[in-house]
């Protein structure tokens, strides 16, 4: 169970240099910086045994929200809890209850898939034998037995994705958070991932609480039990796919999403500017 209430985060961005090479930012020099509201007001509940889709256009604040949930960024305001544990004050305990597949999912190329997975198990406090057994179990589930003892160096996108997912789930967390998991995956790999997530949601799979961020509505339609639409750093709507269709009076989910996520002005602007 993941609860997020009125989350907000702003960043100071230097104006003159939009892309600074060294990453050296001087927060004191406010004269040449402007404030970007990455997240203004995001709230949602993700219960057990359900897949909650976090749907929003690029730059809506999905990744920032999930990074705050992972304790990588401290929020300016709001409250987050995982199974009742506060994320900000008890980061370690909260992280132990979550399996996170972040936007960045780099593996160690000189280690085998098994070593990559077991390393994370050990960092989660598992004994070597337990971590190894779990790696084999996950390999069975994601059909990657043949990959397990190969170095991840030459892995395809799909193989990398499976390894990263197995790595995130090694400690069998009750809550699973996935940031754009289908990015760069082909049709078959996407299907396999969907199947795995459905199984993890089912009572046999552990009735996990799954949060899934994406900007692709077809995935939400096919997979999610609940949808949270995020736009310009705010939660603008939430409910099931049918709820949202009803709320906007549309029959097409894409049209419903566009109406929820973008203002009338933005839609008009795009229609004029875009190719007709």
């Amino acid at each position: 169970m993941i609860t997020i209430e009125h989350l907000a985060k702003e960043f100071r961005v230097p104006v003159a240099a939009t892309k600074k090479a060294g990453g050296l930012a001087w927060p004191g020099r406010s004269a040449s910086s402007r404030i970007v509201h990455a997240v203004r007001d995001v709230s949602f509940d993700a219960p057990e045994g359900r897949i909650t889709g976090l749907l929003g256009p690029n730059g809506a604040g999905k990744t920032t929200t999930l990074r705050m949930l992972a304790g990588l960024i401290t929020p300016d305001a709001g409250h987050m809890s995982v199974d009742g544990i506060d994320v900000v004050t008890q980061a370690g305990a909260a992280l132990a209850r979550m399996g996170m597949l972040s936007d960045a999912r780099g593996l160690y190329p000189r280690l085998t898939a098994r070593e990559n997975i077991v390393y994370y198990g050990r960092l989660q406090g598992m004994e070597p034998d337990a971590a190894n057994a779990r790696a084999e179990q996950l390999a069975q589930m994601f059909e990657m037995n043949a990959l397990l003892d190969r170095r991840t160096d030459g892995f395809s996108q799909g193989e990398r994705m499976k390894t990263a997912l197995a790595r995130a789930l090694v400690h069998d967390p009750a809550n699973i958070v996935l940031d754009e998991p289908t990015n760069g995956l082909d049709v078959l790999a996407t299907r396999a991932l969907r199947e795995s997530l459905r199984w993890l949601r089912s009572p046999e799979g552990g009735a996990k609480c799954i949060v899934f961020s994406t900007h692709i509505m077809q995935e939400v339609e096919r997979l999610c039990d609940g949808v949270v639409v995020v736009s310009h750093g705010r939660t603008v709507a939430s409910g099931t796919v049918d709820d949202l269709l009803e709320q906007t009076g549309q029959t097409d989910f894409e049209e419903a999403f566009v109406r929820l996520a973008f203002s009338a002005d933005e839609r008009a602007h795009h229609e004029v500017a875009g190719p007709t």
């Binding site: 060294g22 050296l24 370690g92 996170m100 972040s102 160690y108 960092l123 989660q124």
Partner: protein, 390 residues
């Protein structure tokens, strides 16, 4: 205890990762292990040629036929007179001729008899170091001839030879054999330090900027362990690689000694297990500090390449600071010990000179290294979170 086990897990993984980077590791290891013998062979070959030149006792002359008395003197000093090649100037410039050339003008003998002090040239090229080295020897030989002539002339007139030398000059060299040897072996500490630096460089960059570039830092931080535990494990792994290089390169001078071709140099260059362990006392804290500093520099960089560029500043500082000791020609100031890299160079030079290291001499650089390590690890731990998401 649990934190210690976590740090150990990180350490093990980083070590396995570093050891599997075979190509980089082999290059660094091979160069650090082979460096000792290679440098010693080069030095001993140089010394051996200089020695053999001196032993040959030969002198290259142009126009020997003009000076039969000088030829007679050379031969009485058991020197072999050789006619210089016609293009000796070009050969000296091109460093093909390794001996200075004596040029005797026409009418030398007659001028000598008339007491007109004829001019004898000793031709060297100061850029040609080998000919330069022989020049002093030839000049001594020629002034010996001059003194003999003067003595004879005075004796013929019944004047005492002692009048010519109202005072006597005698050299007394206080330097021990080992101290003199450091004039030649002085660059060894420098090579060892470079080996340690380059050994730690790759591992330090890989665990920080490399981790960012691969996109594995963000997921790594989503594990419930303290950041300083993570950084401590990483630092310990990098420092271990640096220390391994330090041990190997310090020990490489032991077998390197066996290949010394020059007996004089072998006698002067005293490097046994005691010296090797003193080197390590100086180098191990240095390897630890350098690892932390390199990691701190690299954590701000998004890519390995960018980190290499930033690390150049550290490498440059570490290679230039020891030169202060080289250029100060042996007069040390107390503040040298407070400067990392310079202090290590100073101490290792002391070890090569066969001088004992005092407790304070070891303690000050050790303190500096510990401070740098703590600072570097703290900085990396602090920057880790913002580095992961940027």
């Amino acid at each position: 205890m649990n934190k210690f086990r976590m740090a150990l897990t990180v350490y093990r993984k980083e070590i396995v990762d570093a050891l599997r980077d075979r190509r980089t590791l082999l290059t660094v290891l091979a160069s650090s292990v082979l460096m000792g013998p290679a440098v010693l062979v080069a030095i001993s070959a140089l010394v051996a040629t200089l020695e053999s030149r001196a032993e040959l006792r030969q002198v290259y002359v142009v126009g020997m036929e003009h000076a039969p008395s000088l030829k007679n003197f050379f031969e009485r000093q058991t020197y072999t007179v050789k006619a210089a090649p016609a293009d000796f100037e070009a050969q000296l410039r091109g460093a093909k001729l390794a001996d200075p050339v004596v040029v005797i003008p026409k009418g030398f003998e007659a001028a000598l008899l008339r007491g007109e002090a004829p001019v004898v040239e000793v031709v060297v090229d100061s850029a040609n170091q080998r000919s330069q080295a022989g020049a002093a020897r030839i000049e001594r030989l020629l002034s010996g001839f001059g003194r003999e002539r003067a003595t004879l002339t005075l004796a013929l007139r019944g004047v005492s030879v002692d009048l010519l030398e109202p005072l006597q000059v005698e050299d007394r060299d206080l330097a021990s054999t080992q101290t003199r040897a450091t004039q030649i072996t002085g660059m060894l500490p420098y090579f060892v330090m470079m080996a340690v630096l380059y050994g730690a460089l790759n591992a330090a960059l890989d665990t920080t900027a490399g981790e960012r570039e691969r996109g594995s830092l963000e997921p790594l931080l989503m594990n419930p362990l303290d950041r300083w535990v993570l950084v401590l494990g990483k630092w310990a792994a990098v420092a271990s690689v640096g220390m391994l290089i330090a041990v190997l390169s310090s020990l490489s001078f032991l077998p390197g000694q066996w290949v010394l071709r020059s007996d004089t140099l072998a006698a002067m260059f005293q490097y046994g297990l005691r010296e090797a362990s003193m080197f390590l006392v100086v180098l191990l804290p240095f390897a630890a500090a350098v690892s932390a500093v390199l990691m701190a520099v690299a954590i701000r960089c998004k890519t390995f390449k960018e980190a290499q560029a930033s690390a150049t500043v550290v490498m440059l500082a570490a290679s230039l600071l020891p030169l202060i000791n080289v250029f100060s020609l042996g007069s040390e100031s107390p503040w040298y010990l407070w400067v990392p890299a310079l202090a290590q160079n100073v101490l290792m030079t002391h070890v090569l000179k066969g001088e004992p290291l005092g407790a304070a001499q070891i303690a000050v650089p050790l303190l500096v290294c510990v401070a740098l390590t703590v600072l570097g690890v703290w900085f990396v731990a602090r920057s880790l979170r913002s580095a992961a998401v940027r």
